[in-house]
């Protein structure tokens, strides 16, 4: 039963990935991308990687796709259509995509499914939390902190971009609205 569902999901992902790049309407592309991301999360759920699945949904489906849709909402009109790319550009993109597929296939050619390894237990939430904050062997506290610094920098950058009024109107006569 799980295998049937997995194959259906994989087929969906393939179809919608292709549709994401071939659709002429940008918002529909975003929706196709959403389907691919949610299907990925569903496969993680089937593989019992529940934390990864939830993070996939929160970050990619609930976060990034919402931001993409939001920016499309602000910039595109409903009648706007993307132009078809020039033939040789499409060919180069297709070649690059095929190259990536070949590379992944080569890396995975003698990989073993982790479910087949004897004594596989789905990772527990506590272990993931401990591993993220541990500084011993196989601890991830350094990447965790580095990412938080990156996020902080991004947030400060966003505030600086969103508040040009502070830089422009140093004039005392200009009374800024209370906001």
């Amino acid at each position: 039963m799980e295998q049937i569902i997995t194959y259906i999901l994989l087929a969906l992902m393939l179809i919608f990935s292709v549709m994401t790049v071939t659709s002429g309407r940008i918002l529909r592309s975003a929706v196709y991308l959403l389907t691919v991301l949610v299907a990925t999360a569903a496969i993680y759920f089937i593989m019992q990687y529940q934390f990864l699945a939830a993070v996939q949904i929160t970050l990619y489906a609930g976060g990034i796709v919402v931001l993409i849709i939001f920016s499309i909402l602000l910039t595109h009109h409903i009648e706007h259509r993307m132009e078809n790319p020039v033939f040789w550009k499409a060919m180069i993109s297709a070649l690059a995509a095929l190259g990536a597929v070949a590379m992944i296939a080569w890396v995975l050619k003698d990989a073993q499914s982790i479910q087949n390894v004897a004594g596989f237990i789905p990772p527990k939430m506590e272990d993931i939390g401990m591993a993220l904050l541990s500084y011993g062997k196989q601890g991830y506290v350094l990447p965790f902190e580095v990412i938080s610094v990156l996020l902080l920098a991004a947030m400060i950058g966003a505030i600086a971009v969103a508040k040009p009024a502070l830089l422009q109107f140093k004039n005392k006569n200009f009374k800024q609205d209370d906001q």
Partner: protein
Amino acid sequence: MVFNIYDFTGLTEWIHEGLSRSLSPGLTLVVEWALIGAGLLTLVALLGLVLIYLERKVSAVIQQRMGPMRVGPWGMTQTVADVLKLLLKEPLMTRNADKFLFNLAPFIVMTASFLALGALPFALGLHIMDLNIGILYITAITSLGVIGILLGGWASNNKFSLIGAIRSGAQIISYELSVSLAILSIVVLTGSLQISEIINTQQNGWWLFKGHIPALIAFVIFLIAGIAELNRGPFDLPEAESELTAGFHTEYSGFKFAFFFLAEFINMFILAGVGAILFLGGWLPLHFGIDNSFNHVMDFIPPIFWFFGKIFALILLMMWFKWTFPRLRIDQLLKLEWKYLLPLNLLNILLMAFIAMQGWYF
């Protein structure tokens, strides 16, 4: 007798064993899924009927009116009549709308609500999936609903819808932070994301009482931010009738409109459910300490009534808010979140972590 209102584990096991005796494992799973689906559909249909009636009566009481009185005794079958009317209505379609996305949007909203319902424990043993990361799953899945709102607003090709959708998006994304942080401050105490585990830690008292002041602050923030995330009054600017006609669902009619409407009420139920699980002990009866006569009296009331009782208490509170407070302006809304709730929330988590570290909670 397999059926026991205090513990549904026997009943679910009995169904499972009975099915697997005559069917193959794969088919058993399919039949069980169908049963769960039918159960959820019934629950949602009943909830829709009850909650809409309740909303109309509560608003009527607050505004000193009678509310619906004509259809059935005290107007109790008014919602049934309304649902029939919506079913019979013509599904209108704007000519220049993006038809595919326009039709897809209500289903995304509804699917997100249904998926979240699957993780709620209704009583002992009456829990569809007890995931290791249950509460994270609920926050993740409910964040998908906003996509439907954004798509619906854009695909309608109507300026009111678009403004409503953008407002709704900004509002939901902002307030999701506060909801998640408020949830997190209780997770600090429970040490687990699993819903059954969170409920088990409250055997000797609810977190609202055991967690001192930080839990109380987290509860208030959770309610405020949660109501904002639901697009409910007083935070209902995305569908402000007086300025945007109806916001993102202006162009929807018939059953697609009903889907948006119903999803909103189900989301209210889910929010109240999460609040009940985290702060009010889920389906656990009201307990003080361990093993005393007060607890035994409370144990007499079945868990399923406790859970629904808590949920309806929270829902009544939300309705009371909606019909009491005037609608916020968009700048007030964003100010409330980013300048007050979020900093308070972060401080609250620090305080809560300190209390948990010192073991000052009961």
